[in-house]
């Protein structure tokens, strides 16, 4: 198990809603997305698979190249692939921007 943290200070758009999607089942993960208590966006990942920090970084760099919300994101991951991670993030965004 590994814990990873990223900060995206440029994401400043004010967010009001919360979203929870996904399940910590094999090959899947859960995302908790809510307004950030601090400036910018902050990501906290707990993953069952060690040694993929760079891959997580690439996924979130891409996610925050399009999304600019000031959010706190918590992820509990049970081995989701980068594609599944992006889909779960987009699903969470869909919920808060409905």
């Amino acid at each position: 198990m590994e814990q990873i943290k990223f900060d995206y200070p440029a994401a400043k758009r004010h967010i009001l809603k919360k979203a929870h999607v996904g399940v910590v089942g094999s090959g899947d993960m859960e995302v908790l997305l809510e307004p950030s208590p601090a400036e910018g966006a902050h990501v906290f990942i707990t993953t069952s698979v060690d040694g993929f920090r760079d891959t997580w970084k690439a996924v979130f760099d891409r996610f925050f190249s399009k999304f600019d919300g000031s959010v706190r994101i918590d992820i509990n991951d049970a081995g989701a692939t980068p594609g599944s991670v992006l889909l779960r993030l987009e699903q969470a965004v869909e919920v808060i921007e409905q």
């Binding site: 198990m1 919360k18 929870h20 910590v24 859960e30 908790l32 707990t46």
Partner: protein, 287 residues
């Protein structure tokens, strides 16, 4: 019913099994009446899993939703089968017990509150061994307290099934609803095979397992009450029916003599097969 209409029904049906634990629980309530208690953002996670290098889940795989079913107060407690096999740990067990006890408290105060247990679980979470076992004992004593006032309705929809300590919770429920895909049993097939050998029970023989643990057999033997199709609307309707029916005349688990006599009457000199058992026990359904 014509073949085309069967196919149309199948295509239009909203599968219950394909929903996750949270969506299953939500689908049972009258629209707009429910809210989730101690949800994911309360972050009441298992403290024991990370110590063992296992990712926890923000609701510990136990979803508690309070609302109204057919206009009556009810609480649904669902285990998420995809997270750690729906296992019962310290936190998920405590959430379940607390929800049942609050329903009892409301019922005693003159507001009968039914409980619906959605059990997709292999039983106690091995990583939290003794705490999980203690939780099962508490859950059962809480069910016994609540079922004096309001019905406790168990749904085993599949595909995980309901085994181990939580199968006892199903056993003391007022009503049990199953689908054809679901399984219910004290020991799971793999446990039996591991303990007693492949001659005793072949865990890879799906036809054998469903003939013994499957929903059709359990309802056929009178150990569960309703066999419902994998359809969210039909399952919600079955739950509504039992909530409105209130308590059964007698709970299945109170009929100790009936089941002792039935077991005593079995001819164990030859192998008992599922069809025979269904024939002998099925009529009367244990009620």
């Amino acid at each position: 019913m014509s073949q085309t209409s069967i196919i149309q029904d199948f295509i239009n049906r909203k599968s219950f099994i394909e929903l996750d634990g949270r969506a299953r629980a939500q689908s049972l309530f009258d629209e707009g009446t429910w809210k989730e208690l101690t949800g994911p953002f309360d972050r009441i996670e298992s403290p024991w899993l990370p110590m063992q290098g296992i990712t926890p889940q923000s609701d510990d795989g136990c979803i508690v939703i309070k609302g109204k079913i057919g206009g009556s107060p009810a609480v649904a407690i669902a285990f998420e089968g995809a997270f750690q096999g729906g296992s019962v740990g310290e936190v998920s067990g405590a959430k379940m017990t607390a929800a049942l006890d609050l329903a009892t408290k409301d019922s005693e105060a003159g507001k009968p509150t039914a409980a619906i247990l959605l059990l997709e679980t292999g039983g106690v979470r091995l990583q939290e061994a003794n705490l999980g076992l203690a939780a099962v004992a508490e859950v059962i004593s809480s069910i016994l307290a609540l079922r004096q006032h309001a019905p406790v309705i168990t749904i085993v929809a599949g595909t995980v099934g309901c085994f181990g300590g939580m199968s006892l919770a199903a056993g003391v429920s007022s009503y049990t609803i199953m689908t054809r895909e679901a399984r219910l049993g004290l020991n799971g097939p793999e446990v039996i095979e591991q303990e007693s050998g492949i001659d005793e029970f072949d865990a890879s023989d799906r036809a054998l397992i469903w003939a013994i643990h499957g929903g059709a057999q359990r309802v056929g033997m009178g150990l569960a009450d309703a066999l419902v199709e994998d359809d969210a609307n039909k399952i919600a309707a079955a739950v509504r029916g039992y909530v409105l029916a209130g308590l059964p005349a007698m709970h299945r688990s109170q009929q100790v003599d009936l089941y002792r006599d039935r077991i005593a009457a079995l001819d164990t000199s030859k192998q008992i097969d599922p069809a025979t058992l269904r024939q002998q026990w099925g009529t009367g359904g244990g009620r």
